[in-house]
Amino acid sequence: MAKKTINIPLGSQHISLLEPIRFNFTTENEKIVDVDWDVGFVHRGIERACTTDFEYKQVGYVVARVCGLCAITHSLAYTMGIEQLLQLEIPKKIQYLRLLMLELDRIHSHMLCLSHVSENAGFEGMFMKIMADRELVMDIQEAISGNRVQFDYVSIGGVNRDLELETEKLLKTNLSELEKKIDDLMDKFTNNWSLSLKYKNIGVLTKENAYIMNALGPMARAAGAKIDVRLETNNFPYEEVGYEPIIETSGDIHARNLVRLKEIKNSIKMVRNIVDGLPQGEIEVKAKGKPNGETFVRLEAPRGEIFYYLRANGKNILQRVRIKTPTFSQIPVMVDIFKGANYADAHAILASFDPCMSCTAK
């Protein structure tokens, strides 16, 4: 067959991904041989706003709006940075409540990704089922924080609400129900023959390339790389609440699906342990003074490492707020994975990256 070179754009608006990102694939017959990309469609100038328009006490609520999916991670990373600059000790109860929300965020975000991966492999019914099941965790988050998406749960020195008894009951009931549904999904993603055709050996990232390209989050862990900020910081008592690193080795879409499903199970376990072992105490400590100096905070968001750098000089307005998000730094990894894949698989591969353009173009 004669070799035919075709350029095929995917995005910036595309039915397979409701966020503005554009890949321009150069294909030889069906195979992708080169990839051009553009992620800068919606830059919102949030970093500038944080150092010009808002005082440091307000910025936590601004950065929560960087992303609707990992809002809690953004506001928490920022808040922890300010607390470091204020040399504020945070009691264990507050740490536990923050960790609870972080892991609930991971559950609903991973479920959103799994639903999109299903949809992009042609399984629309499964997309709807996972989205419906995801409501179980959204309801828990709403009961704890008062909001479904923009939680605004974290404040400097604490959290805004304690865990009520009624909420604890709802949490335990919903998580039990969710766990059964995740087991069912695990069975389908592992054993369904059609899904295997769509995911196994498709969109492969090797372990070696995961390190060379600086892969993060589930993408790295699905390639066999033990890369997880939860292993690398003492920000939270992860070992105490039952955190286990989830590693798969095949590096394909299937492996990324399994990592997310197993991480949901691990997050459910951690959330239960947090609630059962929740210490007594206040939900806020008073902050004194104004932030001074520089610091950085890393947290493991659902898509990988979130990084905040803060610099302050004892005034109400910070000198620098730097936000680095996982999708942003993984664009080169995505390009690497696309090369050599068939164009017909591009949509499912893209969905399996779980890209967040809202984070990327902050």
């Binding site: 600086n214 890393r298 490492e305 000198q319 080169p332």
Partner: protein, 114 residues
Amino acid sequence: MKQVIEIENLKSSIKEFYKPEVWHYVTLNASDIDGVCKLQWIFTKYEQKDESIIFEADVEFDSTIDSIADIIPSAIMSEMEVVDLFGLKIKDINSGLYLDETSMKTPLKVNNNG
């Protein structure tokens, strides 16, 4: 741990130090401190608790510096960001990641009022 470097030695310092399976490149961070561009290349060690190295250099905003994207491919993203948002020139790195022709130029420089 912080290591102040001469900007001319950036590539050799990174090349000598960086091993992909040991060190995670977090980002290149830039800050405008009293009109000087403070650059920080931040690395953390895989599977080690809170272990990091920051290479730091102060440069003038009209300088041209080397790219390290040939050593660390993912560095291209943060380098493009610095070019766009601070106006620093980095060899072989184009502007236009976020900003287009009608956008505010170098929005993160302190004395930029739009």
